[in-house]
């Protein structure tokens, strides 16, 4: 083999080894660090895993926000139109957090069914709704429609 060609081969082998190492590490890290999104309905139906970091979201239910009087603990309900979930959070809620607006929380669902959020995100301009929340709401509406047509079918 010509030296130049041999060197090129070495470079390629080097890159392939590094790349496969990277792919391996990447998939490992991705598995460990992705946060799946669940709707309140899914949580209510027991589809969300406990004790692992997930995200939930929905519209904040009117008059559901409660604050502790001596700390920054607060809790509120989010709803996708079909089910609600109570979220506990200790910290400063974002500026655009408001009742009857969309919010997405990242945190863990404990064995007792309490969702403790590490982070709460709200929309950041008045027209924008996080796509997850919009989808969740739409899903709930679709399910309702399906349920009602099924009910109608049964009735007829």
């Amino acid at each position: 083999m010509k030296p130049a060609r041999k060197q090129r081969l070495l470079v390629v082998v080097f890159i392939v080894v590094i790349a496969s190492l990277v792919v391996g590490l990447l998939s490992y890290a991705l598995r460990e660090n992705i946060n799946l999104f669940y709707t309140p309905s899914q949580v209510a139906a027991g589809q969300a895993p406990g004790n692992t970091q997930i995200r939930v979201g929905g519209m904040v239910v009117v008059d559901s926000l409660e604050r502790a009087s001596d700390s920054l603990d607060s809790s509120f309900l989010v709803s996708d139109g079909a089910a609600t979930l109570r979220i506990h959070y200790s910290g400063i809620l974002p500026d655009l957090f408001a009742e009857d607006e969309a919010a997405v929380a990242t945190g863990t669902l404990g064995d007792d069914g309490v969702f403790v959020a590490q982070q709460v995100l709200a929309k950041h301009d008045e027209e924008y709704t996080p796509p997850e929340v919009a989808d969740a709401m739409q899903q709930a509406i679709d399910n309702k429609a399906k349920a009602s047509t099924a009910a109608k079918g049964a009735y007829e």
């Binding site: 890290a29 991705l30 920054l72 989808d135």
Partner: protein, 682 residues
């Protein structure tokens, strides 16, 4: 009327861009010099009309013409005039117009400063840039026309600019970022032109290098401004969130950094030529991808805007054409570039290769983390988000490795480095850097942690190696001063940029390890101690701004008493040395609330206070942060950008042009400004 004029000018720019994309290229294929010569005037004309169009949009904003839908959605009569101007690029349509304006500007710059390049090369480059322009003009005119009217019932007043964007950082952040994104189109166009011509030599690399450096420096400043803005405007006190939109700007930066280094090897040693072309294509493709990610609304992000899905489809199609087309061309033509030369494993070439491998790995990791949620969504694996731990898991070790390699790599010689010499060079940094790192931490009174020790050691290693190299390179028989003056601008650029990386790394390491961040509930009169500073919360009063009403808090800050520990009472000698006035603003037009943090900045620490929300009974939730060395992050970023600019002005690039000039068309060289400059320097 003005809006229609702007619209009309935009259509004319599209026509000129079409001509610019086709005629010069056709000229190079059929060898018609008249057609080739149209490239410059056409790009000039295109710039003039798009500038007119942009001026029209600025005018309707300043005049509060709310019959224009874009103005009505993004401005308000109460908005101060400078925000009215910056509101032009505050949302989708206008930012695209800014994008094409900048693209036309870069095109014009290439047309003006490339007098020394062969005419057919210029024609190809300008043609390719024309094609990109056509894509963007079509995108604007078909899906997002900023001049659309709201007739016959225009609103009385506008909806106002998003309060988050009403800030000095946001006036300059998008233009800088776009200067960088779009600037990579020049390197891209040069690469495509080289593939078309089937010719790529070190002269090509010398033409491309200053343009790439310039674009990369702008991008660096753009990212820096974004980070700085996020720090004080979002009210969270963070400087990087691994938000998909931040990643979208980081990816072209990583590709651009790799490109700059691989260009060095291509210019000096004729190595990695296909790879360099591929990186040039990649850098611009990633810029386009960034635009797509930000503008299509596929991301959940603080930057994502409510958008209409046809736009996403259009950008995706455009992305497909640009990336697919250029990669196809690459696949067909890269083999014509000739065989690669060989290199020694212990040489600067090998160092540059390592740099490229590490940067591309970092890039792949960011790309995967950013696109994975989209991919999962499309494939129905559920709605996923990839959090910061993933990115940190990779970026931190890669960054450390990169810095270690950078220190050594920049000291290696071209062709072949003696291993004995290398060892004697490494001795001082190897011994001193961990020692100085420990000393630094101890003197600052911080716990010595593994993470901070590693970060500091790597940064000091890089610093010591770089400085040692400067000392050696500047040794000269005529004394140190003569030696320093002899060093080239591109060398100084490299030194400053590499030291900038070290400064940045020190900032990141110390801030992320030793920041003290408290979210607390405070009642007026209460005091809190954070990291050696006492913050007294005095009062909240209502004030009125031009287009908002604000609750403004007052915090008096003093040095904490050493002996008392927590809850210690204020000693009389510890008088407040500054007051912070964080605000909670309510914007009148939208009713949006916004946190305006107040920061007492310093080279070695920032004191950061932001108001959360009123909790009743006069209590507020408050963020109180003490962040050591955070300014170093941005100082480092600025040094990096400065290094890029200095290197771009190296004499060598202009001299190279002179040589080409003399060999290609000697007759007209007398009047050339590049020649005059080069003469002056000689």
């Amino acid at each position: 009327m003005i809006a229609e004029l702007g619209h009309f000018a935009l259509i004319l720019s599209l026509c000129l861009a079409c001509a610019q994309a086709l005629i010069p290229l056709a000229g190079t294929l059929s060898n018609k010099s008249l057609w080739i010569a149209t490239a410059r005037p056409l790009s000039c004309g295109q710039f003039v009309f798009v500038a007119i169009s942009f001026a029209c949009l600025v005018t309707v904003f300043v005049q509060d013409d709310f019959s224009v839908a874009y103005v009505a959605n993004n401005s308000n009569s109460l908005l101060p005039y400078y925000y009215k101007v910056s509101a032009v690029w505050g949302a989708h349509e206008g930012s695209l117009l800014l994008w094409v304006l900048i693209l036309a500007g870069w095109t014009l710059a290439v047309a003006m400063f490339s007098r020394s390049l062969p005419a057919d090369m210029v024609a190809r480059v300008l043609s390719v840039m024309g094609m990109i322009s056509v894509g963007f003009y079509l995108f604007m005119l078909l899906t997002s026309n900023p001049f659309e009217r709201l007739l016959p019932f225009p609103p009385v007043d506008g909806k106002d600019l998003n309060p988050l964007l009403q800030d000095i950082g946001l006036i300059i952040h998008p233009p800088m970022l776009y200067m960088g994104y779009v600037g990579f189109s020049v390197a891209f166009a040069f690469a495509v032109a080289a593939l078309m011509a089937g010719r790529m030599d070190s002269a090509w690399a010398r033409w491309t290098r200053p343009w790439t450096n310039a674009a990369w420096s702008f991008l660096t400043v753009g990212i820096f401004l974004g980070s700085w803005w996020a720090y004080y405007e979002l009210g969270w006190g963070g400087w990087w969130f691994w938000d998909p939109v931040e990643n979208a700007s980081l990816m072209p930066w990583l590709a651009g950094t790799a490109l700059i280094h691989s260009l060095a090897a291509s210019e000096k040693r004729g190595l990695f030529r296909s790879w360099t072309l591929l990186l040039a294509i990649l850098a611009f493709s990633l810029s386009l991808l960034g635009t797509f990610l930000v503008r299509s609304g596929v991301l959940t992000s603080v930057h994502a805007f409510a958008t209409d899905p046809t736009r996403g489809v259009f950008i995706l199609a455009f992305l497909g054409v640009v990336i697919g087309g250029s990669l196809l061309l690459f696949a067909l033509r890269s083999s014509t570039l000739g065989a690669t030369a060989s290199f020694n494993w212990l040489s600067r070439e090998a160092g540059l290769l390592l740099n490229n491998v590490l940067l591309v790995v970092a890039l792949a990791m960011v790309l995967l983390g950013t696109l994975y949620p989209l991919l999962a969504d499309v494939l129905g694996w559920g709605k996923i988000s990839v959090g910061p731990p993933y990115f940190n898991f990779f970026f931190v070790p890669l960054g450390l490795l990169l810095m270690l390699a950078m220190g050594v790599g920049a000291n290696l010689q071209w062709k072949r480095q003696g291993s004995g010499k290398l060892f004697s060079l490494s001795k001082a940094p190897l011994l001193l850097s961990p020692l100085l790192a420990v000393l630094w931490l101890l003197l600052a009174g911080w716990d010595v942690k593994v993470t901070s020790l590693l970060g500091l050691t790597a940064a000091l290693w890089l610093t010591l190696f770089t400085l040692q190299d400067v000392v050696q390179k500047s040794s000269h028989s005529g004394g140190r001063r003569a030696g320093l003056a002899r060093l080239s601008k591109s060398y100084w650029g490299m030194v400053i940029a590499h030291l900038g990386i070290a400064v940045l790394a020190i900032g990141i390491t110390l801030t992320s390890n030793y920041s003290d961040q408290r979210d607390v509930r405070l009642v007026a009169g209460e005091r809190i101690e954070v990291a050696g500073y006492g913050f007294v919360f005095h009062s909240v009063e209502q004030i009125r701004g031009p287009n908002y009403i604000a609750q403004r808090g007052r915090f008096d800050v003093s040095k904490a008493t050493k002996d008392g520990g927590q809850g210690a009472s204020l000693k009389p000698e510890n008088k407040a040395f500054t007051s912070l006035w964080p605000e909670k603003r309510r914007y009148l037009a939208t009713g949006n609330t916004m946190t305006e943090a107040d920061i007492d900045g310093g080279l070695f620490r920032d004191l950061y206070v932001a108001l959360g929300e009123p909790l009743g009974d006069g209590a507020w939730s408050v963020r109180v942060y003490v962040k050591p060395y955070i300014r170093w992050i941005w100082l480092g970023a600025l040094m990096i950008a400065l290094g890029g600019v200095i290197a771009a002005f190296d004499k060598r690039y202009r001299k190279a042009r002179l040589n080409v000039k003399q060999t290609t068309n000697v007759d007209s060289s007398e009047t050339s400004p590049a020649l005059a400059l080069a003469k002056k320097e000689n």
